[in-house]
């Protein structure tokens, strides 16, 4: 009776035992490879395809944030790497060819666009203060149902504080600390 209910296997028991160490090795190797896969790949190859991930990304004449823009690409546009220099990549797009900081591209195609309704600020409006997005109505209802009005008020305070930090301040912070594309 039991044998009828045992799961079928491609390998007999003795074979399974002898193959077990191999399976373990392969599984371990797979896990190591998976963990080694960079989400923000620092190593790029010529010809590699990457994607823009911002609402708008400028392709620059030189590998410097102060260089003139030679082209602009929209969200999730495919780019082909021509050359890399430090943290900068020279890429080709349908709109033209230019330099882009590697932090501004994605190695996998982004699926969700930076919708204006959520990101609140377009790339070109960096000097404005981001509007504080309040808690979603469903979350407010959740807070009410769970008598968590204090937590709700705390998050409202937090959102107001976070909104005081403008996108322009982030850029100034990056620039002053020589971070991101502003490092020398």
């Amino acid at each position: 009776m039991n044998s009828l209910h045992q799961p079928k296997s491609c390998f007999p028991a003795s074979s399974r035992e002898s193959l077990l160490p191999w399976f373990r090795s392969i599984a371990t190797l797979g896990l190591v490879c998976l963990l080694a896969l960079p989400a923000y790949s620092a190593e790029y190859k010529k010809g590699q395809k990457v994607w823009s991930k911002h609402y708008e990304t400028a392709l620059l004449a030189e590998p410097s944030p102060l260089a003139d823009a030679v082209a602009k690409v929209g969200f999730a546009e495919k780019l082909s790497i021509r050359e890399s220099r430090g943290t900068w990549l020279r890429v080709k797009s349908d709109e033209g060819e230019g330099w882009v900081f590697q932090g501004n591209i994605a190695v996998e195609k982004p699926s969700l666009a930076p919708a204006a309704g959520w990101t609140t600020v377009e790339a070109s409006q960096t000097d404005t203060v981001a509007a504080a997005r309040p808690l979603e109505p469903a979350a407010k209802n959740y807070a009410q149902r769970h008598n968590a009005q204090e937590a709700e008020a705390d998050i409202d305070w937090l959102d107001a504080q976070a909104a005081l930090v403008s996108n322009q301040e982030i850029i100034e912070y990056l620039s002053a600390g020589q971070l991101g594309e502003y490092r020398e």
């Binding site: 960079p38 911002h54 699926s111 997005r133 979603e136 968590a148 976070a162 912070y173």
Partner: protein
């Protein structure tokens, strides 16, 4: 008005017939309309995301989970300078995150525990106990980058989408009792995942590795998180809650590159 409605009705009935009759030009229009429909369907599918949740639903769940996190960890620590600092460092990192569809927010919890949390939709919290270790900018970046990766890689959302409590629920944000019950269920499971069970070790190590790379791309020394873990690991006193929802610091340190500390 009636005439206009009649014309629309007639065109609606006649156009498919004409297109099938392959009248020159109309076939192209039909193809173009089909392409538009296909693009619209594709857009709707993408807008829902691979998890089957819309962005709005993800953010609503995340916001409700944030309420639960704040409730359970002593409320928000209302220190304006510290809050400004975590938002500067956090948003500098988020500038280079994959997900630019989110409004990232960073906050401090008024708790002595040493821990950090991320809620779907872009909210990241660290406790006062962790913040006051104290943390240099590189160390703070290491901690925040780890939490950003959990959101960036949709760790919680993917688990929610796989769970039975999620299966088949549509219109999660609709204004009716069935939707309230479904929302409660999803938020409760997500809260349990984030605050009690924690992510599985694989996702935590992925967040450690991805966070290290995000910090590096942003220009911070990559050993920030490692420095924090070493500080905690080498503490003489027996601390209270320390990264209780994460794998042991020893195991995490084993998997991070042995590089100079910032």
């Amino acid at each position: 008005m009636k005439a206009l409605a009649l014309m629309v009705l007639v065109l609606g009935l006649v156009c498919p017939v004409l297109a099938q009759a392959q009248i020159p030009g109309l076939g192209d229009i039909t193809n173009a309309l089909q392409k538009v429909k296909k693009t619209k369907d594709e857009t709707a599918r993408v807008a829902k995301g691979a998890s089957g949740l819309s962005l709005e639903e993800e953010i609503a769940i995340g916001d409700a989970v944030a309420v639960a996190i704040v409730s359970r960890y002593g409320g928000v620590w209302r220190d304006e300078d510290a809050t400004r600092r975590v938002n500067l460092v956090g948003r500098a990192l988020a500038q280079y995150a994959l997900r630019q569809d989110l409004q990232w927010r960073f906050g401090l919890l008024d708790s002595d525990a040493i821990n950090a949390f991320s809620a779907p939709g872009g909210r990241v919290f660290i406790t006062r106990g962790l913040y006051e270790l104290p943390l240099s900018d590189a160390e703070l970046a290491g901690v925040l980058a780890h939490e950003i990766i959990h959101i960036d890689q949709r760790h919680a959302i993917d688990i929610i989408a796989r769970g039975e409590f999620w299966g088949g629920v549509t219109g999660l944000l609709a204004d009716n009792n069935a939707s309230y019950a479904a929302f409660e269920s999803v938020v409760g499971e997500t809260e349990n995942l984030i605050l009690d069970e924690g992510f599985d070790a694989g996702k935590e190590f992925e967040a450690d590795q991805g966070g290290r790379e995000l910090a590096l791309v942003t220009g911070y020394p990559p050993g920030g998180l490692r420095a924090v873990l070493i500080t905690i690991d080498s503490a003489q006193e027996e601390p209270g809650e320390v990264f209780s929802t994460h794998p042991s610091t020893e195991k995490r340190l084993e998997r991070l590159p042995d590089e100079p500390l910032p």
